[in-house]
Symmetry: C2
Subunit: 305 residues, 2 copies
């Protein structure tokens, strides 16, 4: 059983207190798929230009990622660059060149359409809805969004997430979407909009899972060096959904097993933490399943009492 | 076996998004002692003026707190007032009238001096050291400090904490004291200064316990309403130390049982969370042991996976 992922495949220019890279593989779909590929067969839907490097395609292929839905069109690949603050909690965008991504209109290969798991990375809500509509018999669907869509495309976003099983967003976005500062009440309001499961990401402070009346909280992994936080939230999403797909989880009576969701949140946290250890997606070139299992056990060890 | 607590007993003027009180019992010693009193017999060392209300003294006495070390001198009690921001993560000080606290020179009653547990609330480091020196055969000692002492009284503070078993500070203070942004490395540097145990408080994001090579992380309790965060950090300290004193914990070969410290961090978190549910220390007028036990179990429930 495979997982379909839609989002951006991009090049990023990154500057953090640890260094600078002018051009490195990036994009939400890239990070989600790389993280998810450690758990389940992953099929991506994205668009790149004719400058997309064979070595980057080879990295994705080396992780067994299905690239049939990776459209190549004339022009340049989406390019973003930014600079992180000293504490890496803020970043300033320097460049956003949408390039071929501006006309992205995802069209799913026939071989993707009957897959049971769908993860919609952060793109225009109407495009997320169109992808959802192309899938037949999807079992579990959810995704990410951002402040821009919440602010300027609210109606479209609300219509889109009504059909989702889960939503993954960060704390400030949750507050903005709900119009409520208190996270507990914000979560209730968001779950009334459709998703029965909500994960609020809090960056270095971890994540909160809400499902019905239950919630689960995990602190962020305490890294000794954070090289580059780019993509950590997407890797969280990839680990979270990848684990659920690997387990073949499906909702029963509209609900998904709560303990499995908790474990999925830990795997999400594990993958997000690895992502920060190198620039861009470089950590996934060498990451092993044994390292993932070790870090999962570390989470148990430092949270248990 | 009793716990000796030194710090301020004060009146506070508080304004939060939930309301305003002109004058309510406050001060680090007050909050620490109220929280600790649910676990262990607590003896306080502090100074108040002749305006200190009988009803406030009665509240402390109702919790079985030993007031022999509460000095009453002519003049006014320490007064502080402040206004919290909308998200309550920042506060602006409006008034700081030290009053009788300006000449505080703690002198311990004879009946306090042989107690095994000592918690030094946030006061001038030299005064903390003087209190420590008045104790005979103390078994476990630690305390709190703040940015002001770290910045302007660094040498004195470093000399003071060298004799401590544990230090409780917040994350920005830990970074400032260590001169290191990364919390994991900051913790190592601080533990080289003396304390074998360090608790870094992160406000709504919880706390981290460091001891030797081990660490433990707990998220903050997700309150539906935060009325007033004043005193939450001190209540954390009171719950933490109160629990250790209740259990009769003592260091073995210079180390304290790590699992007991983890439970102490949870009891600290429990007491800090209750503190925020009412203005000032009002929650402790009605709090019961059953409610404390229930919340401890809630912590287990929302962190377990």
């Amino acid at each position: 059983m495979s997982l379909v992922v839609v989002g951006s495949v991009a090049y990023d220019g990154l500057e953090t207190p640890h260094g600078k890279v002018d051009r490195i593989l990036g994009g939400s779909c890239t990070y989600i798929a790389l993280a998810a590929s450690f758990f389940a067969r992953t099929k991506i839907v994205a668009v790149v230009g004719d400058d997309f490097a064979a070595s980057d395609e080879a990295l994705l292929a080396s992780r067994g990622i299905d690239l049939e839905g990776l459209e190549r069109v004339p022009g340049k690949t989406f390019f973003w660059s930014g600079v992180y603050s000293a504490d890496m909690n803020d970043r300033t965008t320097i460049t956003t060149d949408l390039n071929v991504f501006a006309d992205f209109n995802p069209n799913l290969p026939e071989s993707y359409r009957s897959e049971p798991y769908l993860l919609l990375g952060n793109i225009q809500p109407a495009l997320q809805r169109s992808v959802r509509a192309q899938m037949n018999g999807v079992r579990f669907v959810g995704g990410d969004t951002m402040n821009y869509w919440i602010g300027d495309f609210r109606e479209e976003l609300v219509t889109t997430i009504r059909e989702w099983d889960f939503l993954l967003i960060n704390d400030s976005e949750a507050r903005m979407l709900a119009g409520e500062h208190n996270l507990r009440r914000a979560a209730e309001k968001i779950m009334e909009m459709g998703p029965h499961t909500l994960v609020i990401k809090r960056g270095e402070y971890g994540a909160i899972l809400f499902q019905g009346k239950q919630h689960f909280m995990v602190p962020g992994f305490l890294l000794e060096d954070i090289f580059d936080p780019t993509g950590a939230g997407d890797c969280f999403a990839g680990g979270f959904m990848g684990y659920l797909a690997q387990q073949g989880i499906r909702p029963q009576h509209g609900e998904i097993d709560h303990q499995a969701l908790r474990r999925a949140v830990i795997y999400g946290s594990v993958m997000g933490s690895f992502c920060c250890e190198r620039f861009g997606p470089d950590r996934f070139r060498t990451l092993t399943h044994a390292q993932i299992d070790d870090r999962y056990r570390e989470f148990k060890a430092f949270t248990n009492f």
